[in-house]
Symmetry: C2
Subunit: 517 residues, 2 copies
């Protein structure tokens, strides 16, 4: 079995002699330069301090823990080559609402544990904008920084405890977050991210010592943050691209991250186009406001028989329905439309909905779950206002895709080899439903691939494969960030996309609506 | 007046705009890459944190404090371009017995203060060997490390207080010490320096954050340690070469550092040969044991009228004589020899010495200062044993020079363009006296140049001139370290050199002894 070429390498050093008496650190560097085919190896003080003793205790053989950095390779640990303790790393996805950490064995690639927690910054300021405002003074910034750092430390400790390991076993941490979250994690003033001309403090943070950030792992541990492209395109998306592999394919593919914003990356191994962030008024009240977060009793799947209009809802854990999440909402809209209960204009059809459609405070309201069956003892309902909001969101998504893919890149939807759906919310979307309402383009289902937490996954892969640093550089170099121009043309496209599935029915040949030929 | 090209540079950044919206740190890097003609600039987290606010407060103009490191240039501070606070650095000479720190203004080059103190490690273990033994366990090493670090912190504070500056004004520290002192300063295990095959832990320490070493300066301050060549040739000598400039001259010159050991560097801009450390039994009881340290009442100059044999002694501060220091000893030996009171074999001449020569415990003893005139109320005397020891030392020095200069390098003493005498002890040696006893070669006096604390001076110069990093690299590359081979041939040379001034009188044409033609 060939030695895995990750960040842990077993090496043997020449035994020093009167004729070969260069210093220990330089002998280590010389061997590593050869092994790694590099001309720069850094041996930090923390490693150098005990190197002479360790080298001799281990008889001039070492299990070295390395990291690849802009300025060369760095030695992060020199350990017993015959020791059994795993050499670990932590991949971290720093979401605005949710943070997930994965503990990994850097030699085997095995996941030793994974834990998610709500971003504790939420209790200080709920969303990105509020947090940036809170961080305007140094004290507020420090409050936000230390909140997330403490939570990460606690989680790292839980993960290590769970795996029966000491914190010293963790040598590397790779973190991916959006631009604002990256700034707050590092304690870098984020004030100008949200002010024209939207300037981040740092796009490519130099890797740093965990200890200098207050992160408690191995005393020599290094922390890498995925670089940002700009204020509205962060390291989480770079990690996502790395995970999807768009940048490795000959033919065009696309990744859509449906989270707080809709973020789109399209490209091949030769070029990448990205578009992200608020697309103006069309996206306001967009994807994120469509429903409650997934949890017990939340409706995540809806099926309506077009003949009988019989409704079946599926809740998480099978508990009585409490509400509906985003993916359930898309399912519901699709099923309502396919069964004729919502018309092509996105309005409830009184004749098809029957008793389910009631008027409350002058607003048409569709009762999906009746009061006696619900977990709240109130009907779980969808109002025309809710539906209009969903319609706007799906139309915005389609318009963005139309503009980026077909107009900007000149790629036909049919030519897309893969359609990756990323983000926790995206993971639950049923592509058939999303196509049915015209949110996603009508391409063969097998082209859709759900990535889940692609940001975490990208960070995890980086910890196992030094070559991915080159890929990150290539992604950054090849990527063109396109500002979505919400002009009259966009609004025209948007207007057409507000129909179900679209004013041009021919774009959605697979969508068969009840009662239509 | 052209802008000085040191480590403080005033720059202006392009003002960000929608068309030029790269991140602040990357914009700073881009400008510095151009300004410094480099492809690598590191902006550490500590600087990045406040960069966005500072850039805008200072209207996109900055006084940047930089440092040059192996992996590129590093931004150590971004300050108000119109601010009056000086940007400072500290040069540090870490001697085994004495440590000296110099506070400097990095823009003007002005010295703002200088302070010396006894190396506090002395009270833990007196000499290099004892300290290395003490550092065998991690606790002992830490004890030695923290002793020197605390003393450096206290001295840095005194220097800043003296100059009316905050510690935050100090951004850089350049330190030079021998290999063992460098290890103890950094807390690197020095155990193998003194065991065959004499391997240092580190020869070229990567620069590090002051804060990671427990040194309290500006929070982003960097510390540079002059690299070692090997266990017996440390960074203090590299700094010394830098100060003397041997490596810049077309014609050969030599630097002799007469301190605890005799260390010799010879060369031109194309080659360098060095030799240092204990030269075996011939040097045992060598230079360092010749006398007491300079201080009030210590005899540092002696003059003897060869006609009258009248003796004049000069003491430091003109106080009554307490003892004699090394340079006084060389003066005394020279004057005794030139006046015929010591013969060419290095023995006291009873006839010439007269009453001054007494026998105490069977040993011929020369009373330099009689009891009534001395500050101790005892005679200040030189015994035949003391003189023999001096004779051995001067013979060893001459032999080393002979072997290195004439035999190894094939350079005649007459061809030396400069003869630099370094080291605190060396500063006080009168070259005429040293030539008279055959310790130094008989070359024109104007070729001798006293460097004083060349280690401190080299460190200080580095803080003002980034180009010196290239010179350090060149010195390291061009320098060949020669192990002094104390074989029969060396012992033959040594035997000849034990005569006054030498068995071959023709080597010292300028030495005129009383009573000789």
């Amino acid at each position: 079995m060939p030695e895995p070429q990750g960040f842990v390498r077993r090496i043997a050093l020449p035994v020093p002699a009167l004729g070969n008496n260069i210093a220990d650190a330089e002998r280590l560097k010389a061997v590593l330069k050869k092994t790694l085919s590099t001309d720069r190896v850094v041996v930090p003080l923390g490693v150098a301090k005990t190197l002479p003793g360790r080298l001799r205790t281990f008889n001039h053989r070492l299990k070295t823990v390395l990291f690849r950095e802009d300025v060369g390779w760095r030695v992060v640990g020199v350990e017993d080559p015959d020791g059994d303790d795993p050499i670990c790393g932590i991949a971290l996805d720093i979401g605005t609402t949710r943070v997930v950490a994965r503990l990994m064995d850097l030699e085997t690639g095995e996941t030793l544990g994974e834990r998610g927690f709500d971003n504790p910054q939420i209790s200080i300021a709920p969303d990105v904008l509020a947090r940036i405002h809170h961080a305007t003074d140094a004290e507020g910034l420090e409050e936000l920084r230390s909140a997330i750092i403490h939570a990460v430390n606690a989680t790292a400790r839980e993960l290590c405890d769970g795996a029966g390991l000491a914190m010293e076993s963790v040598y590397l941490m790779a973190c991916a977050g959006n631009t604002a979250m990256t700034h707050l994690f590092l304690g870098i003033d984020p004030s100008y991210i949200i002010r024209e001309p939207y300037i981040p403090g740092v796009n490519i943070p130099d890797p740093m010592d965990a200890v200098s950030m207050g992160i408690q792992l191995n005393p020599n541990a290094r922390v890498f943050l995925f670089p940002n492209i700009g204020s509205y395109f962060g390291g989480d998306l770079i990690a996502g691209i790395l995970c999807a592999g768009i940048h490795r394919r000959e033919k065009p593919s696309i990744m859509v991250d449906v989270g707080t914003n809709a973020e789109v990356v399209l490209g091949t191994r030769d070029w990448l186009i990205a578009c992200a962030g608020a697309a103006g008024p069309a996206l306001e009240g967009g994807m994120s406001k469509m429903g409650m977060t997934a949890g017990p009793g939340v409706i995540d799947r809806v099926a309506i028989d077009p003949e009988t209009c019989n409704i079946e809802v599926h809740t998480i854990d099978g508990k009585p329905a409490m509400g509906i999440c985003g993916s359930g909402m898309i399912d519901l809209a699709a099923q309502l439309f396919l069964s004729g209960m919502v018309d092509i204009r996105g309005k409830f059809s009184r004749s098809r909905c029957g008793d389910r459609l009631v008027t409350k405070e002058g607003i048409d309201t569709f009762e999906l779950v009746l009061a006696p069956d619900s977990g709240t003892h109130e009907p779980i309902a969808l109002t025309q206002v809710d539906l209009n909001s969903l319609t706007s969101s799906k139309a915005a998504m389609h318009s963005i895709l139309e503009v980026i893919v077909q107009q900007t890149a000149g790629v036909r939807f049919d030519d897309l080899e893969r359609f990756y759906v990323a983000g926790t919310f995206g993971s639950f979307i049923d592509p058939t439903s999303a196509i049915s309402i015209g949110m996603l383009p009508d391409i063969p289902l097998e082209k859709f691939q759900v990535l889940g937490n692609s940001s975490l996954e990208g960070a995890a892969r980086l910890l196992l494969d030094p070559d991915l640093f080159d890929e990150i550089d290539a992604i950054r170099e090849n990527l063109t960030y396109v500002e979505l121009n919400v002009n009259q043309e966009f609004m025209n496209i948007f207007s057409g996309a507000k129909f179900y599935p679209h004013t041009e029915k021919s774009r959605f040949p697979s969508v068969k609506v009840w009662g239509q030929a």
